[in-house]
Amino acid sequence: MSRSSLKKRGGKMHQFIIIDPDLCTGCETCESVCSFVHDGEFNPINTRIHRVRIEPVFNIALACQKCEDAPCIRSCPEKALTKNEETGSIIVDDDKCNGCAFCIRACDFGVINLHIDSQKALICDLCEGMKEDFIDPEVGKTEPQCIAVCPKEAISLKNVEQIGEETRMDAVKRLFGDVSEFGSK
């Protein structure tokens, strides 16, 4: 992942994991890996990214949208959730979290759950908290493992501007067709 993808622009960081439903096959590998790199065991019930399959054909996964004014943070009676201003990730303070699940009720995307053993809130941290043993020596630092492992490269980390830009490009292509020779006589 290049440095530019993690750069704050205008002092704000609003980037998150997005999944392309055209590419997602619903294989759940992201969920398994998420639990594994954080806990050292495969248990997708403790995932921070969630596959959704609507039968018969639709597949996607969802993870924390890192809302600017996050309802989960506002709803937490224990003040256990804080926003990391550098990365935009919402960080759970396990010492404060009492498993009341208000954050789960507040989240509009259903991407928070409680760890089945510890009953502490689980929110995507872009793998900042992954175990060091599993860091790829060639990369040398933590990075979202769901992206690294997704067999179909359906998962990416994007900021809001990138998403808008890509959508605009697609819209223009739809509206104007092939514009590579626009204006030529």
Binding site: T25, S32, S35, D39, F42, P44, I45, P56, A148
Partner: protein
Amino acid sequence: MSKAKEITLPDNVKGYSQVRLDVDLTSGKIAKSTLSGEFCRDWIGGYGFGAKILWDELKPGVDPLSPENVFVWAIGPFPTTILPTSSKYGVFAKSPLTGMFGMAISSGSVGAQARRAGINAIVIKGKASEPVYMVVDDDDYYIEPCEKTLWGKGNFETEELLREEFQDQRLAVMSIGQAGERLSKLACITNDRNRQAGRTGMGAVMGSKNLKAIAFRGTKGLKVAYPAEFYKLAKKLIKVANGPATAKYRDLGTPSGITSYNKLGMFPTMNYREGTWEEIDNGAFTGDTLNEDWVVKKVACSQCSIACDHLARVPKTHPEYPNLVASIDVEMCYSFGSNTGCKDWPTIFKCVSLCDDLGIDAISGGVTASMACELYEVGLITKKDLGYELPFGSTTNLARFTEEMILGKGFVGEIFGDGCRQAGIRLEELGRKNAGYYGMHIKGLEMPAFDLHGMNSFAVGESVSIRGACHLRNGAYGLDAKGNFDRFGYDKPLERGKAIIKLEDIYAIIDSYVICKFTRGIYENDAEMAKVYELVTGIPHTEESINKRGAAILNLSKCFNIREGWTRADDHPPEKFFKDAHTKGPAKGVVLKEEGFQKLLSGYYEARGWDTKTGIPTDETLKSLGLDFVIGKLKPAGGK
């Protein structure tokens, strides 16, 4: 135990949960016990567990549809890890279709959910007094009556109802449809809508026990023996699994084979009258057209990096099947397509969907329909029998036939509702002479998508298959298709036998691990396949020792067949391959020669260390594989 004995067990075996459940449906009692580390090491999982448990616990000669049959469900050490295609399970019992070793393997979410519930094997005996389903919800195991809720329902609805009941869309459900309830010998088990444990009538065994479904879910994690090393290797395998080794399964899916097999004259057409089809030659019926015109989505089983499940959708404007979605692979393109002469894709999708939902094996179903088409053409069944016409190339009537066959309705249900072999017997009893000749099966199991005209190595490979006609016991079609041997010749019987065995032993391990044969090519070699087992379980199997265990598992299931009355004559392709040749294509004019076939078959037996006359393993061979416990117990009990 031979080579395996030299493999030292670690203090703690990982991967395996080692939990076995014994379910007595007659009394309703469920007991829990531990599978020993030695048992796991020696029998690996899936197929190996099934073979050992059935040998030890199934009384020889029982009626497969009686309470005395034993139904084994088993996984290996891998489900819920990220090893590609690891979420697989196998079911094993005496087959009502073949009367011999029955086995079927499926994927989806069942293996992974069951492992998270902490289950390794379930052994089901007896018969419930009323329709029931079983629940494995972590450590909570129970039987629930379902006569009023699920019985009579199709597989799709059964799964939906149970997921609603549990308020859990991730609940894994394996169930039988109406066909399994009525004990059709073709009955399959369906899970996750599109995944089937299809072959050898395992759904009928569930039905005979009044067992409609098993639902699984769990919350337990799985720790592997060497986490960092395993993660590294698994990541590599996931990458390779999206490289050239599996491209055909991912891109066009297995239907890419339609064109290549057609070129070789081995894509069965019109019930094996031909091995080539003009509709394939002209590009109308190919993997390309299927994908471009019909496939809308590729979907994966849990923790599978390939995603071979190609979902085809009929447009909402279609007059008969608007919005129908079906899961399609090459076998269905053959069984309900070329082999019935049907080139109408929506009809094929409809037939496949009926099979998956109402619950029969779509290979056996299509091949039985193909038999009916040919019987209609030669006048052995008529419009008067059926109430409609059924020539090769039928569409609406093919779907109608399929539904009647599955549900056991009318003449079609009575005659064809239990597959080709029974249809032949029943028609001949009605005086329709030689009707059985048109049933394309080996040992009672309908044939998969490979012609045997001029496929001499595979003629042996498919004939010796433990579960009856099958391309997945050794995949020996590759030996002919790739030109390893003269496909039209009968030379090198011992070498051919050895080549088949080399495939067959490692296939037995793949079915025991249980992983998918599509990933055979992602491992650098068998040593890497042994390595991944060690990294997960901590049991240091080697290339040599896993292959030896593969041979032991294969031999044990063979011994099961012998005990049930198998003889050399059972390892034989249908007569049609010896009498009727193709009229065109690469195998034009070619028939199998009995003498040559028998020579190759003896070569296989010799390579296996089996008596070359009888095909029965010698005591020496059994001892070398650690199967001493079998010696002296091979007297046929009958009931085949």
